[in-house]
């Protein structure tokens, strides 16, 4: 069914064009990353480029990147998930609560991720079955899942340290801030594994192609036999799973799950995806881009900190960069839709 779609002439053409522009966008974001690194490296007299600092940045961007992966899937379908930060908190606190109740760490992690999957499923059902706009639907569930998180934690952090079992503490701490192969932070390794897995799913499988098809033109996708609801549902479930994964890693880093963990992180994830070339309009994007996007944000923050830039000035600079990223994305799409007349103009949703 889907192979038929992929081989249809028009689609091949679009995907080729898309592939080119994706590459360019990634190249551009990657270029920005390199320029920023050289810039900060020079201004901090090499302090920025020290291996320790680069590994620090990798650890710092890990939760945002993992959150961004799931959001990339949802954004590609043309949706959004504003509840991702709350689901992060929910997954983390459920996992921590399970550990404090005596459940073993691996099982607790599975329970935490399951909590995220259920949250994602609920988001998906509200969007697809109740037909609520993703923005509003997930704005609502953002409150609901935060409330659930506070309920589980009774408004307080769930501390693993309070159990006092040194064995559990050290294992959990390793997951959140341990290092392997010498100095590489363990969460970052998880992030890389997740990036490769999800990247392959997105770019090499039929499911990945369906995601792009749904995001490019939902009606056309439906008519060509794609189960739009199932595709979207899966995207939200993946987003729930990655969100809770990020939450568990954060809880592990502090050996304590905060009931307010992840507040506002969904926006960081969306920013990372968008800077990396994922379109908020749907139909375009990639995991590698999101990794690069997350690093652009992380490098900016770290570099500005090392340059001792005032906290408030930093906010202005980072905000400006995000706006520039989205502006560039919009301008490029407009140019693209003007230059490729025969392709369906997505902005208007009709044939030109």
């Amino acid at each position: 069914m889907f192979s038929k779609l992929a081989t249809s002439n028009k689609d091949v053409k679009t995907s080729v064009i898309k592939g080119k522009s994706d590459l360019f966008q990634k190249f551009l974001a990657f270029g920005v990353l390199i320029i920023l690194s050289i810039f900060f490296g020079a201004l901090t007299k090499g302090n920025f480029l020290k291996l320790d600092n680069l590994l620090t940045i990798a650890l710092q961007v890990t939760p945002y990147a993992i959150l961004g992966f799931g959001l990339t899937f949802v954004l590609i379908t043309g949706g959004t998930d504003l509840s991702a930060g709350s689901v992060l908190g929910f997954g983390g606190i459920v996992c921590a609560k399970a550990i404090t109740m005596g459940v073993s760490i691996p099982v607790s992690i599975v329970i935490g991720i399951l909590a995220g999957i259920i949250a994602g499923l609920i988001n998906g059902l509200v969007v697809t079955k109740l037909n609520v706009t993703p923005f509003i639907a997930t704005l609502g569930t953002q409150f609901a899942f935060r409330g659930l998180t506070q309920l589980v934690g009774q408004g307080k952090p769930v501390s693993i340290r309070a159990i006092g079992d040194q064995n559990i503490i050290s294992v959990f701490q390793f997951i959140g801030s341990g290092t392997i192969f010498g100095k590489i932070p363990f969460p970052t390794v998880i992030m890389i594994v997740a990036a490769i897995t999800l990247g392959i799913i997105l770019s090499k499988t039929a499911f990945g192609r369906r995601l792009f098809a749904v995001g490019s033109n939902e009606e056309a996708a439906r008519l060509s036999g794609i189960n739009v609801i199932k595709t979207k549902l899966t995207a939200y479930i993946i987003c729930g799973a990655t969100s809770s994964m990020a939450g568990i890693l954060l809880a592990a880093r502090l050996v304590s799950a905060q009931s307010n963990a992840g507040q506002g992180y969904e926006l960081e994830g969306i920013a990372a995806a968008v800077i990396g070339g994922t379109s908020v309009m749907g139909g375009e994007g990639g995991i590698l881009g999101t990794v690069i996007g997350a690093f652009v944000m992380g490098v900016l923050r770290n570099g500005l900190n090392l340059l001792k830039v005032d906290a408030f000035v930093q906010m202005v600079i980072i905000g400006t960069i995000i706006v520039l990223g989205v502006w560039y994305d919009t301008a490029r799409r407009k140019k693209q839709s003007e230059s490729i007349m025969p392709v369906i103009n997505r902005e208007n949703g009709k044939n030109i």
Binding site: T44, N47, K50, D52, N53, T56, L59, Q60, P63, I118, L121, I122, L125, K129, L148, L151, G155, K156, P157, S159, R161, A162, S177, I229, L233, L250, R253, L254, V255, S256, Q258, N260, A261, Q263, G264, R301, N302, N305, L306, L307, K308, D310, A311, F312
Partner: protein, 335 residues
């Protein structure tokens, strides 16, 4: 799809069950603490309503216990603990205050859920001749008799003194504050920086970052401070989440020996940090003082002795790795 809906429905049911349970537990708990003797001597017993933001939280239970103990000590005082089920139930708290005015309470101790909504009820109580002592959270107009709270400027200065002592009076110090633009956060930061500027010319505050009470963000910011200032001597986390994040960063960077972490407030994680030595000291607020002093002040007012100053600082206790095993300090840590 039907299956999915079944699962969803099950989830909703479980959640509503949970919510239902907590609802009944919290309720509108009015716990009579000193059982009223039921004898005729009611006029001699001073009845005080302790109205907190909610009933069922360790913090307010601590306040309540302290108030009860004070009542027992004074002998002729009876404290009733009241409050809405959650801190967000402002209307409910207004109703509770109004009910108290209409029943036979002699005095009210109140922690306001909202700075504006409780002004009128407090005014009404005062007009009916009932003294009102505010604790912890005040109201926008000073219509009350007294307000007991932590003076955060003073508390910030205490943290600065401890930090200065621990780093030997000289070197670079960074601040991770928990919010920009919140009064409590501004007060603490002002207290800390003013104290350093005034009394410790050899200490340099290299910068302030705001972590939005997110320990992960605090950890990232602290790590960057450590990278940017290799000679950094100390980092102050201005609330519990900031301090936990800072302690984590210092541990990750292997600097727990050379960088002193001072925190603010108290939680399980802070206690663990003190025990392991990653946090060298913290400022603990005194809800017990709010409870006991609140009762004392109401009794004083009824005896015709109004407090000289409406604003009463309940102070903080600096708990350090040195003094934390002192039984007195242990009691404060576990209050």
């Amino acid at each position: 799809m039907k299956k999915l809906f079944g699962i969803l429905l099950a989830c909703v049911l479980i959640v509503s069950m949970l919510v239902g349970c907590t609802g009944t537990v919290t309720g509108d708990g009015a716990n009579k603490t000193t059982p009223s003797s039921g004898k005729t001597g009611d006029s001699e017993i001073i009845k005080i309503a302790l109205i907190t933001k909610m009933v069922d939280s360790p913090y307010w239970q601590t306040v309540k216990r302290a108030a009860e103990e004070k009542a027992k000590e004074l002998g002729n005082v009876e404290v009733t603990h009241l409050g809405p089920p959650t801190e967000a139930d402002i209307d409910k708290q207004v109703q509770i205050v109004e009910t108290c005015i209409n029943s036979d309470y002699d005095g009210i101790i109140l922690a306001a859920c909202d700075i504006d909504a409780l002004v009128e009820p407090v005014r009404k109580a005062k007009e009916s001749g009932i003294p009102v002592v505010m604790i912890d959270s005040g109201i926008s107009e000073p219509v009350y008799d007294a307000f007991l709270s932590t003076n955060n400027v003073q508390a910030g200065a205490e943290c600065a003194k401890l930090m200065a002592e621990l780093i030997g009076g000289e070197g670079q110090v960074a601040i991770i504050n928990f919010a920009a633009g919140t009064q409590t956060a501004i007060d603490r930061e002002t207290g800390f920086t003013e104290e350093i500027k005034k009394n410790y010319p050899n200490i340099e505050i290299v910068g302030v970052q705001y972590c939005n009470a997110d320990p992960t963000v605090a950890a990232n910011q602290a790590t960057d401070f450590i990278t940017a200032y290799p000679d950094l001597k100390g980092i102050w986390g201005a609330n519990d989440q900031s301090a936990i994040g800072v302690a984590q960063a210092v541990t990750e960077q292997g600097k727990s020996e050379s960088i002193i972490v001072v925190g603010f407030d108290n939680s399980d994680d802070i206690k663990a940090g003190l025990k392991s030595g990653t946090i060298k000291g913290t400022a603990v607020q005194m809800p017990t003082v709010m409870g006991s002093e609140g009762v004392q002040i109401v009794v004083d007012i009824l005896a015709g002795k109004a407090p000289a100053d409406k604003a009463v600082d309940t102070g903080v206790t600096m708990v350090t790795t040195e003094n934390m095993n002192d039984p007195k300090i242990q009691a404060i840590l576990n209050q």
